[in-house]
Amino acid sequence: MTGANVLVPVRESVTLRNTVAYAVDSAIESESESPPTVHFVFPLVRRAVLGPPPDDAEELLGRVEAWAEEDLEERETDVRVETAFVGREEYLFNPGDYADVLARYATEHGVETVVLDPEFNPAGMTPLLPPLETELERLGIDAEIAPVERPTRRFPIMRRASLGQFVVLFGWAFGFYLLIAGSLAPFELATGAISGLVVAALLWRISLSGFANVRRLAGRLARMGLYAPYLLWEIAVANVQIAYVVLHPKLPIDPEIVEFDAAVWSELPVTTLANSITLTPGTLTVDVNRRQFTVHALTTETRKDLLDGGLERAVRFVFYGRSAARIPSPAERNAERTWESDADAESDVAENSDSDAESGADDDSTGGENA
């Protein structure tokens, strides 16, 4: 059983999002008198010892905080979130150093439990986690590696789930079964219930990552109802354009890959946006890495449309309400970045500078490479 206050050391990693969710969950579920606090700390390593913390570290902590708030928002709790940098004046090198720094922070802030991201590996060295865990235990602090999904699947993909999730999943499976069966005969009810139970028992801790409360869900559904016609219209337009381009004897295409940071957060909105991008005018989502979208655009025009951000705004409207729709578009935010494949970067340089000039998004992130 984990204690009330939780400490999570964070670094950029693929499983960070789920680790944050897990830490917040365990803080919520812990039963204690005082409201628990989740601390996210960023251990600064060697080169960042002096001066202010690097921008990307700040950015990461901000993102982690936003995630945690988002997870908390959906429940009624009084869990608090705090972020900090640790190890500023130290030379963190081996697991012992990390454990010392974390333990010091833990005692200062009354933290009993450390939750570790399974991919947490700041210095890029060979296995840090098992020794770090041992060191923390030695210093009298509970350490736990978050049981979250990671690409290599050494940990189960299960997450914590409540009975509510089981019931909802069962309901969906049962309802779908009856719909396909098309009758309410006792036989169908019985077989449907059994199948639903099997499905729910197998999957209740994997699917359905969390629940919004009913009012939020209703709001989202209503706005989704507004979004659907818009999306359908965009799809229709997309197809006429594609049909024109494909059937045109000269094949007037000018494909290019653009990359930009979308201003949407959390899984479902990101998935919706990615699918919407794929369905609409000449754009195809190649990769999504957290908020960073890699999009293949078929023509110059579609590239411009994408960065004008109409879709993005619509998705934000669906999930976060009207106020969120007013965030500036990707082009205004300078969120675009030029894409560099791992294979050969240099052959792209010429095209990259082209696309920058077109979109007017000539910013510092590209300047270094093109100079």
Binding site: V246, P255, T278, L284, A343
Partner: protein
């Protein structure tokens, strides 16, 4: 011909037309990224229109609901599949074709 029959004919014809566009795109476009454009978009709309014809044919009953489900399902899975394929290709390091590449691999060789 009743309006219903006309609707069915129009929807079915639209479905076939966009399936045809998808096929031409898959055969004619120069690389797999552009091909998956036509596969994900035109094919989805084509399937949607054809299934619309099926819905209208069945009228208001359970089969129509199933056809609608099928439509919704394809609307979700087709772009996802296209995305997964494109991503797999990107991870393997397959370069996207660009206009000034000069390496028009399989461009003009295919036409129906």
């Amino acid at each position: 011909m009743t309006p219903r029959e006309i609707a069915i004919a129009v929807l079915a014809a639209g479905g076939v037309f966009f399936a045809f566009v998808a096929a031409v795109g898959v055969l004619r476009l120069p690389d797999l990224y552009t091909r998956s454009h036509s596969a994900s978009k035109s094919d989805t709309l084509g399937a949607g229109l054809a299934l619309g014809a099926v819905v209208v044919t069945f009228g208001a009953n359970l089969s129509a609901v199933k056809a609608l489900l099928l439509m919704l399902f394809m609307l979700i899975t087709n772009p996802t599949a296209a995305h997964a394929i494109a991503r797999a290709a990107a991870e393997e390091g397959i370069e996207p074709w660009t206009r000034d590449d000069g390496t028009q691999t399989s461009d003009e060789e295919v036409e129906r």
